[in-house]
C-alpha cells in the first residue's frame, strides 16, 4: 500500500518554482515526497507516474517552471485544468484537493 503522500515527479525543475510549490503543500499540512526522473518522459507521463505512486491518489509533475496536478482517477483524462496560478497556489490546491476543500481558482 502506497503511503498517504502526494508524489511529486521532478525533471529539470526550476528550483524557485519547486520550493514555492512545496511551501504551498506544507502550509496546508499535507505530506509529500519528491522524486527526480532523468529518463525520457514528458510532463504528462511524469505526472501520471507520480499519480500512480501516490497513496493520496494525486501526482504532481514539475518540468522546468511548469506544474501539473494529476489525480490518479483522471489518468485517462488528463491533469486538472488549472490556469494562471502561482506555484504556491498550485501547491495549496494540491493539498486542498486531497483534503476535499474548495480550490483557489
Amino acid at each position: 500500500m502506497a503511503k498517504p503522500l502526494i508524489m511529486i515527479g521532478v525533471r529539470d525543475a526550476d528550483e524557485q518554482v519547486l520550493k514555492e510549490l512545496l511551501a504551498g503543500i506544507e502550509e496546508e499540512q499535507v505530506l509529500f515526497e519528491v522524486f527526480t526522473e532523468i529518463t525520457l518522459c514528458n510532463e504528462y507521463t511524469l505526472a501520471e507516474d507520480a499519480a500512480m505512486r501516490s497513496g493520496l491518489e494525486l501526482g504532481i509533475s514539475v518540468y522546468r517552471n511548469k506544474i501539473l496536478l494529476q489525480p490518479k482517477k483522471m489518468v485517462q483524462i488528463g491533469p486538472l485544468p488549472l490556469k494562471n496560478l502561482t506555484p504556491r497556489q498550485m501547491g495549496q490546491n494540491a493539498a486542498r484537493f486531497v483534503k476535499n476543500k474548495p480550490l483557489i481558482l
Binding site: 506544507e26 502550509e27 496546508e28 499540512q29 482517477k73 483524462i77 485544468p81 476535499n100 481558482l105
Partner: protein, 596 residues
C-alpha cells in the same frame, strides 16, 4: 368562442385559453406563464401579456385575432416589502482589536505578550513578545529571526498564509495566527493575546468573558463590555485580541424601537421590537382588523418602515404619507454584522428581527390597463372578478375538493387566503411575507447575494465529495461519468435539474439546509395558520374542511409538505392544487376567469 383568462400577479403573468361552446361547456386548450413586466396593474404589464398570449396561442396554431374575449382579473391592490434590522447595535471600539479563524493556524495554546514588529525585534527589551510579521518578511527569514530570540517570543501574528511554514521551522514552538488582512492596523507595544485550539476543538479562553477579564485584569464593569468580543469569537479554532488601554469602551445602541398598531376601531397597542418576533405576532393577532402600523421615530424599526413606505409609494404611485401598513410579519433571526476593529473582516452574529409588510393601495387602474390592451390587441377585454374569487373558482377544478373550500395562495409578494362557502360567498385575506421574504432572509443570514439565495430556496443541496460524486442533503449519492470541474471541488452546491451551482461560502451544507427549512417554516407555515384562522367561519380552523394550496411557492419542493404536516393534525384536508387535473398549483386565477 375562443376566450383567454389573464392573471397578472406580482411576479408572474399566467394565461388560460379555452373554447366556450354554445351549450356552456368549456374545453381548455392551452396555458402559459411568463414573468410579469413592470409593477402589476401598470401599462408596463402589456409587454408580458402579449408575449404569453402569442406563445400559448401559437402552441394551438391560433392567432390573437382568433380570440373573441380576454378577461383580466381585478388584481388585489396589495404590495409587499421586506426589511431586516438588528435589535441592538453593539460596537467594539478601536480600543480593542480582534481577529480570528484562518484556515490553517499553527501551534496550540495561549500566548500573552506585547506586540512588536519583527523588524524591531533587535532593539526590543520586552520579556514577553507577540511578534507581528509584515508581508515583506518571508517565512524562512521570519523563522530564523524568531529563533534568535527564543524564549522571549510567545506568539506570532502573520499577514500572509504562512503560519504552518513558520511554525515548522521554529525551535521553540509557539501559537501562530495568520491571514490577518489588516496587519497594518495592529497597535504596537500593546498587550495582545493569541489562542489556538487543538484540531477539532474551539478556543476556550478568549471566547469566555472571564477568560478575557483574567488576562487583561478587568473590573466587573469592564468585563461586561467585553461580552461582544467573547461572543464574536465563539466557535473559532484560533483568535487574537489586542487591547489598548487608551480610550474608553464605547458602546452605542440605537433603540430598536416600538411598533404602534392601530385597529379600525381607533385604539392602539404598542409593542417593543426587542420583545422579539413571537411577542410581536401575538399582539398583532389580538388586534383584529389593522388600520395602520407605525414605528417610533429615530429607531431601527421606525427608519425601516419609513424606507419601506418610500419604496412602496414609488411602486404604487401614491404618497408615502397616505400609505397604511395593513399587515406585518416578524421573524426572529440572526444576521452577521461587521465587527468594528476587525483585523480580517470578521463578523459577529447579532440578534435581529426581519419584517415583511403589506400596504393596501387604492384600487389598481385595471380598467385603464384593459382599455390599453383592447386598443393594442384589437380584442375585447373585460375586467372580471376579484382575484380571490377567481382563484377559488380555479381551485375548485382540483379533483377531490368540496365546498366550503379554502385556498392558500403562496405567492412571491404575499400570502393570500380565501374561503368560498356553500352560498358562493368569498372571504379573502392578504398577508405580508411570502417567497421574496424567504429569499431575503436566506441571503442576509448566510451573507449571500440575492441570486444565489434564490437558488438555495428553490432546489436541494449537495456536497461535492470527490471528482466523480456528490452527496445530496438527504444522503443519496450521485455519480458522474465525467470528472466535475475544479470550481465544484469540496463545495456545497445547489442541484438543479440539469446544472449545479457552487456556493461560495464557509457554511456547511447542514447549516445552509437548516437555515432554508427554518425560514420557510417561519414564513409559510406561520402565514398559512394566520390566514386560515382569519378567514375560517367563526374563526375556527376546523370549519375549513379542505384547503388547496396554489401559487408559485406551492411549487416549492418542501413548502407544501411543511404546511401539510402542520395542518394535518387539525383534521383538515390540505394539499397542493391540481388545477384542471394537469396544471399543478399554477393557473388557478386564469382558469377561474375562463370558467366565470
Amino acid at each position: 368562442m375562443l376566450i383567454a383568462g389573464v392573471d397578472i400577479g406580482n411576479s408572474t403573468t399566467e394565461v388560460c385559453i379555452a373554447d366556450r361552446r354554445e351549450d356552456g361547456s368549456i374545453r381548455f386548450l392551452a396555458t402559459g406563464v411568463t414573468k410579469t413586466t413592470g409593477p402589476k396593474g401598470t401599462p408596463g404589464n402589456l409587454k408580458g401579456i402579449k408575449e404569453v398570449l402569442d406563445q400559448s396561442l401559437g402552441s394551438i396554431d391560433k392567432k390573437l385575432s382568433d380570440l373573441e374575449l380576454i378577461r383580466i382579473n381585478e388584481a388585489a391592490p396589495v404590495i409587499g416589502d421586506t426589511a431586516m434590522e438588528t435589535i441592538t447595535e453593539t460596537i467594539i471600539t478601536e480600543s480593542t482589536m480582534i481577529g480570528h479563524n484562518p484556515d490553517t493556524p499553527a501551534g496550540e495554546g495561549l500566548a500573552v505578550g506585547t506586540t512588536v514588529l519583527i523588524s524591531d525585534l533587535d532593539s526590543c527589551k520586552e520579556k514577553d513578545i507577540i511578534v507581528v510579521v509584515t508581508p515583506d518578511w518571508d517565512y524562512e527569514r521570519s523563522a530564523v529571526t524568531i529563533n534568535r530570540y527564543g524564549l522571549n517570543v510567545r506568539g506570532a501574528i502573520v499577514k500572509k498564509d504562512e503560519a504552518v511554514l513558520i511554525y515548522n521551522r521554529l525551535q521553540i514552538k509557539i501559537p501562530i495566527v495568520d491571514e490577518i488582512l489588516n496587519i497594518d492596523r495592529i497597535p504596537l507595544n500593546m498587550k495582545a493575546v493569541i489562542e489556538v485550539a487543538t484540531p477539532g476543538r474551539s478556543i476556550r479562553v478568549l471566547s469566555n468573558p472571564y477568560g478575557l477579564a483574567q488576562i487583561f485584569t478587568l473590573t466587573p464593569e469592564e468585563t461586561k463590555h467585553v461580552i461582544p468580543i467573547a461572543k464574536s469569537l465563539i466557535g473559532n479554532r484560533s483568535a487574537v485580541v489586542i487591547r489598548t488601554p487608551k480610550g474608553a469602551v464605547k458602546e452605542r445602541s440605537i433603540p430598536a424601537g416600538i411598533l404602534t398598531v392601530w385597529d379600525t376601531a381607533g385604539s392602539s397597542t404598542e409593542i417593543p421590537i426587542d420583545s422579539g418576533a413571537t411577542a410581536i405576532m401575538e399582539s398583532l393577532a389580538k388586534t383584529g382588523h389593522i388600520y395602520n402600523i407605525e414605528g417610533s421615530p429615530d429607531s431601527h424599526v421606525g427608519r425601516m418602515l419609513e424606507r419601506m413606505k418610500k419604496e412602496l409609494s414609488a411602486l404604487s404611485n401614491q404618497e408615502a404619507g397616505s400609505l397604511k401598513i395593513k399587515d406585518l410579519l416578524a421573524v426572529d433571526t440572526f444576521v452577521p454584522m461587521d465587527v468594528k476593529g476587525a483585523l480580517a473582516g470578521e463578523v459577529s452574529m447579532e440578534k435581529a428581527v426581519a419584517i415583511a409588510t403589506m400596504v393596501k393601495a387604492e384600487k389598481l387602474p385595471m380598467e385603464k390597463l384593459a382599455n390599453l390592451l383592447e386598443h393594442q390587441l384589437k380584442v375585447p377585454v373585460k375586467v372580471a372578478g376579484v382575484e380571490a374569487v377567481m382563484a377559488t373558482l380555479g381551485a375548485l377544478t382540483t379533483q377531490g375538493v368540496t365546498l366550503p373550500l379554502a385556498i392558500l395562495d403562496l405567492g412571491g409578494g404575499s400570502t393570500d387566503g380565501a374561503v368560498l362557502d356553500k352560498d358562493g360567498m368569498v372571504t379573502a385575506m392578504h398577508l405580508a411575507g411570502a417567497g421574496e421574504f424567504i429569499t431575503m432572509m436566506i441571503g442576509k443570514e448566510l451573507s449571500l447575494e440575492r441570486n444565489i439565495a434564490e437558488e438555495i430556496k428553490m432546489s436541494p443541496l449537495a456536497k461535492v465529495e470527490s471528482l466523480y460524486h456528490i452527496r445530496m442533503e438527504n444522503g443519496e449519492v450521485i455519480f458522474f461519468p465525467q470528472p466535475l470541474e475544479p470550481k465544484f471541488f469540496g463545495r456545497v452546491v445547489v442541484v438543479k435539474e440539469k446544472t449545479m451551482i457552487p456556493i461560495d461560502t464557509k457554511h456547511s451544507m447542514e447549516r445552509i439546509a437548516e437555515t432554508r427549512r427554518r425560514i420557510k417554516k417561519e414564513v409559510f407555515v406561520k402565514n398559512a395558520l394566520r390566514a386560515l384562522s382569519m378567514i375560517a367561519p367563526q374563526g375556527n380552523l376546523r370549519n375549513v374542511p379542505n384547503v388547496v394550496m396554489v401559487g408559485g411557492s406551492a411549487l416549492d419542493f418542501e413548502i407544501p409538505e411543511m404546511v401539510l404536516q402542520e395542518l394535518a393534525h387539525l383534521k383538515i384536508t390540505v394539499g397542493r392544487g391540481e388545477i384542471r387535473g394537469n396544471c399543478g398549483p399554477r393557473n388557478a386565477v386564469a382558469t377561474g376567469l375562463v370558467l366565470l
